[in-house]
């Protein structure tokens, strides 16, 4: 995973429009990026190495990679918990919640940003305020509520309440505010309704923000520990983060399998990030090409 060789080759390659005076600056920028970047990667490399380490090799801090790599940890992780089942549960919940909550957040975010209606600002402040309420106190009332709905120990408990995000609404509203109004005015003149403006003008313009929010939401639910712990009892609806907890015993931790499954848990996030990244960087690329 080390990025260093790629970068240096990039750097030595002649760059078309690079002015001579910018050369030193480019080197400095790369220097900073590589230095900071390695700090970011190091612990990650550590998991990668640890996941393949046999039992005896955990103790030495200087040793990033095992001298005798083994797949035992993966095997142990796979056998210790119904890994595939937990994985699919997590995936289903995270995808469903992400799609649903980005949609409801975008709809309401648009209304809060652009449409005028009575009580708009008051409702919005209400949204903001509830974000400041600590999660641990709402847990009990939430539990009682879901029990009343008969949703305990079901996928509903982990999905439906999560479809309505105050955070998402806040974030998208902020982004929509930054979109120049002229685009909508033009559509309005063409006789578009609000829904069409929203769908054909606002959403396409907001792709970076939507993708970012989708990513946050996915990560949040993919990593969620408390929700499944509280609401789920049966093994076949368990999710992965809770599965990881099983490697931590009362008195000792099975580090090897824990690291192996942490590594496996990273994969969907990395894939999603890989896909989403196009959108983060597309704009940057555009800027580069323009320059």
């Amino acid at each position: 995973m080390s990025g260093a060789p790629d970068i240096s080759s990039d750097e030595t390659r002649p760059r078309g429009k690079q002015p001579g005076s910018g050369r030193l600056r480019t080197v400095i920028v790369y220097g900073i990026l590589v230095a900071l970047g390695s700090t970011m990667v190091l612990p990650f490399l550590w998991i990668l190495g640890a996941a393949f380490k046999p039992v005896g090799e955990f103790a030495d801090p200087w040793k990033l990679f095992p001298s005798h790599p083994t797949l035992d940890n993966f095997r142990a992780a796979w056998n210790m918990v119904p890994f595939a089942r937990f994985f699919l549960n997590s995936l289903f919940i995270a995808i469903f919640v992400t799609a649903g909550s980005v949609l409801t957040s975008a709809l309401s975010g648009y209304a809060f940003a652009r449409l005028r209606f009575p009580g708009r600002d008051r409702i919005f402040i209400g949204y903001l305020a509830t974000m400041m309420v600590p999660w641990s106190v709402v847990m009990i009332p939430n539990f009682i509520l879901l029990k009343a709905f008969g949703w305990l120990d079901s996928y509903y408990a982990l999905t439906v309440p999560a479809l309505f995000s105050a955070y998402g609404t806040f974030m998208l509203r902020q982004f929509f505010l930054g979109i120049p109004k002229e685009y909508e005015e033009a559509a309005k003149i063409d006789g578009c309704g609000y829904l069409r403006i929203f769908w054909h003008v606002i959403l396409p313009l907001s792709r970076p923000a939507l993708v970012t929010l989708a990513l946050f939401t996915f990560l949040g639910h993919w990593n969620d520990l408390m929700g499944p712990l509280i609401f789920i009892n049966s093994e076949d609806k368990m999710t992965l983060p809770l599965g990881l907890e099983r490697f931590k015993g009362m008195y000792s931790t099975d580090w090897g399998p824990l690291m192996a499954s942490t590594l496996l848990m990273l994969i969907p996030m990395l894939i999603l990030f890989g896909i989403g990244q196009k959108y983060f960087t597309k704009g940057i690329k555009l800027a580069v090409d323009k320059g």
């Binding site: 648009y110 949204y127 509830t130 600590p134 106190v137 105050a166 902020q174 983060p241």
Partner: protein
């Protein structure tokens, strides 16, 4: 009806737009929040036969709140906080937020570097984002090992650099908080905030920079006069979210890495609330009261922040 047909149409459409979210919000957020506020006025804990709120025990009035923030005089006429822990943990919470400005500046700095015309940017974005992608629990455990004073990589490096007695980090009352702040910086500097800044930076019209260049502006001037004001809504958003996160935060990291120790030096208010309600004591009423005090503090700080920053933020940010 004084409103024009257009205004009414707009209002009705808006209603439809916000309906799904507001409905879900009311049921799954507003109701539990209101319920927890009611709890704060009772000495409620799960009692015999209480399968819902019907079994609440005695009304406590403001006693729960008073216990958290009040003081009392002992017979020897010395004054004592009713709950000394509340104050200690509030202090911890605030100190642990010291990393926020650094995290914001760092995120903007990196986003700024990454939005240059360079090759390999996607690779770097991935690299910087990695810490936030790794599961929180996993990250904390890795850092716990990195920070170990005897066998951890960090002290190994410090020793190699010639430091005689590197800190005991998580095992030292005065170094545990800095250790958590450093870890927080590591995990947040290239994370969501950087991506938000990237999205924000790329939406700045290139023309602004071009015309500034024509006027002969240097890099720093461009940053101060164009970039900073143009990203200010994002900064504001990040700052508010960090403050809220900071006041409510500290549970997961402390729970996994220090269990709130040593000697309570990394216990935050939210950890305290969790302890009160769920770890051995079941003081849900008192926990709710502490949570609501925390809420009021967060709200007050956010409001002050909002009023101070509003005038300096570019564009229509708030209402």
């Amino acid at each position: 009806m004084r409103w024009s047909k257009g205004r009414r149409l707009e209002a009705y459409s808006a209603l439809l737009f916000i309906l799904p979210n507001v409905l879900g919000f009311a049921v799954f957020t507003l109701f539990p929040v209101a319920a927890s506020l009611i709890l704060a006025f009772f000495n409620w804990s799960p009692l015999q036969g209480a399968s819902d709120f019907s079994g609440t025990s005695e009304f406590a009035g403001l006693a729960n709140f008073w216990h958290a923030v009040g003081f009392h005089q002992h017979v020897d006429s010395s004054w004592h906080a009713n709950d000394a822990f509340f104050w200690q943990y509030l202090g911890n919470t605030v100190i642990l937020m010291a990393g926020i400005p650094f995290a914001i500046i760092g995120s903007l700095f990196i986003a700024n570097l990454l939005s240059r015309k360079l090759k390999g940017v996607p690779l770097f974005v991935t690299v910087f984002f990695l810490p936030s992608v790794t599961s929180g629990v996993a990250t904390y455990m890795i850092w716990q090992i990195l920070l170990n004073p005897e066998k951890g990589l960090i002290n190994a490096v410090l020793l190699a650099m010639g430091m005689d007695a590197p800190p005991q980090w998580l095992h030292d009352v005065s170094w545990a908080k800095p250790a958590l702040i450093i870890m927080g910086l590591w995990s947040s500097i290239g994370g969501y905030n950087m991506v938000l800044y990237l999205a924000s930076l790329q939406s700045i019209p290139q023309e602004l920079y071009e015309s500034a260049e024509i006027d002969g502006a240097g890099g720093f001037a461009k940053f101060v006069h164009i970039t900073w004001p143009m990203v200010s809504p994002t900064t504001f958003f990040i700052f508010i979210m960090s403050l809220i996160g900071g006041f409510q935060g500290g549970f997961a990291a402390s729970y996994i890495m220090t269990k709130g120790g040593p000697a309570g030096s990394t216990t935050t208010i939210s950890y305290y609330i969790y302890n009160l309600a769920f770890s051995n004591f079941f003081e849900m009423g008192y926990a709710s009261a502490v949570a609501w005090i925390l809420f009021l503090i967060t709200l007050a700080v956010s409001l002050i922040n909002w009023n101070v920053t509003r005038k300096r933020v570019h564009g229509e940010v708030f209402v």
